[in-house]
């Protein structure tokens, strides 16, 4: 291996050779044993091989960095039109299409929403994303509550308050009103 030292600066065996010299006491200077001058150099700081090894590693790391950054930026998704445009108000349906005691899921911009016509004739609208783990909730006509089918969370249909199951918070409310016999839902 030693003859490859001059051609190959990143040879791991070279280090072993320099490290092993301490055991080789009292011999004449030869090609296998570094001279006392080299020994001195090695003690003081970095020798040529170490320098090149470090330079190689640093260059490789810089190169990796300038390669990985553009790849990260490439993979970073651009803002889509959908997330940029914000819906503030929406016609859901005619009031006659939403009789008392029923609810309706619909799309409100980028998220699902729910409008409920309760038995007392009031309209209530909420963001239909369960506050537990993000499933879409629905209005149950038989139980007259807002229900999440994923883990059984329940909310009050009038206030959106979490009343049973794992949800930690009430559903965020939207504003629901009737204008010209149309159900209009808008941000609060």
């Amino acid at each position: 291996m030693s003859e490859s030292q001059d051609t190959n600066l990143i040879d791991a065996t070279e280090k072993e050779n320099t490290a092993g010299k301490k055991e080789c006491a009292g011999c004449q200077p030869c090609t296998n044993c570094p001279s006392s001058m080299e020994e001195q150099e090695a003690d003081e700081g970095m020798d040529r091989a170490q320098f090149f090894r470090a330079a190689f590693a640093c260059t490789a790391m810089c190169w990796g960095g300038v390669t990985l950054l553009p790849i990260f930026m490439y993979l970073n998704p651009p803002q889509t039109e959908e997330t940029k445009s914000k819906v503030t108000s929406l016609e859901v349906c005619k009031l006659s299409e939403l009789p008392k005691g029923t609810g309706r899921n619909f799309r409100f911009g980028s998220f699902p929403a729910l409008v409920i016509h309760t038995d007392d004739g009031q309209l209530h609208a909420f963001k239909a994303i369960c506050t537990h783990l993000g499933c879409t909730v629905q209005f149950r006509t038989d139980k007259q509550d807002i229900y999440c089918a994923c883990h059984g969370g329940q909310y009050d249909p009038s206030t959106g308050k979490n009343i049973a199951g794992p949800p930690p918070k009430p559903l965020p409310a939207l504003k629901a009103e009737v204008i010209n016999d149309m159900v209009i839902v808008s941000r609060v």
Partner: protein, 365 residues
Amino acid sequence: MVSHPVSPQKFAARLNAFLRERLPLEELQALAEKKKVPLHKHSLWYYLGGIAGMLLGVQIVTGLLLMVYYVPEITSAHASILKINTQINFGWFVRSLHSWGANLMILALFVHLFSTYFMKAYRKPRELTWWTGLALMGICLGFGFTGYLLPWDDVSFFATKIGLDVASKVPFAGNLIAYMLRGGDAVSQATISRFFVIHVAILPILLIGLLGGHLLMVQVHNISEPNSFKNLEPAEKTYEKFFPTFFLKDILVWILCLNALFGLTMLSPWSLGPEADPFAPAPIGIKPEWYFLAPFQFLKMMPAMVGPIEGELVGLVLMSLVAVGFVLVPTFDSGASTARSRAATWFGIVVVISFAVLSIWGVLS
């Protein structure tokens, strides 16, 4: 946090010991060091395979990145490439790298193929290396052909149409092959889907398998020595170790080639034509990629009929004979006969010159 901090050297030594106890690292190192590279005036050509391999790496990385945003659907394909080119950070760069890289890789492969051909590296015991290499060349041309359609611009649409029409001229199975590849009678959504699957799944699997075999053969037989070197006295022959000496030089050459690729990409980003319209006339001056230009020009100069046979078919048969010549050359020129060796060399020279002349003619016409 750590009460006894471990120095990086100690950590490296421990990691080294850990791996050595669990993996056959000594054997692998011995295997890597076994391979030696002959030093002679033609040694330069030994870099070409490595260059092609490096460019393959670029193709894999950029290809994976493109797949993140590309949509293989007829109404979205062109728009998705347009989005990559205009809206995604470094998107134009990744796409141009993929296109330029593909062209440089084909170029490197052609030089690799002909340099090994003229150095007679196909002779026993390296026939399998030669044949796997030819198959890899075919696969890479397949990559070029299938990938060309995916952006779904006007040129890619007609290039695919022409290519598949040529394929349909193959006797007996031609029509079926073209029909299966096209996924019907016309280049359409079905063609995009099929070409996409071939480009990103089928060809990569074949390529990885064959390339593994190709490299294994090189490892088993060591690097081929041209006759001028083989006939030297043992004392006059000089070698260098493949690992690490030649490998480090390889890395240097790769960096130079990468810089050339980056330079081309930045100075001349790959363009994207208008979206394909299957009912619009072919654009004036439409030509295939440069590596298909020679066969394109050859078929163009064929007369409509040669005797009772269709000219196109005669051209195809002649070109197939060239391919067959390359496949059979190890059995024809085994090194025993000087006359055969010379014939093989002349065959290669004629093919290279015809390829060059036809390509240049194709560019100019």
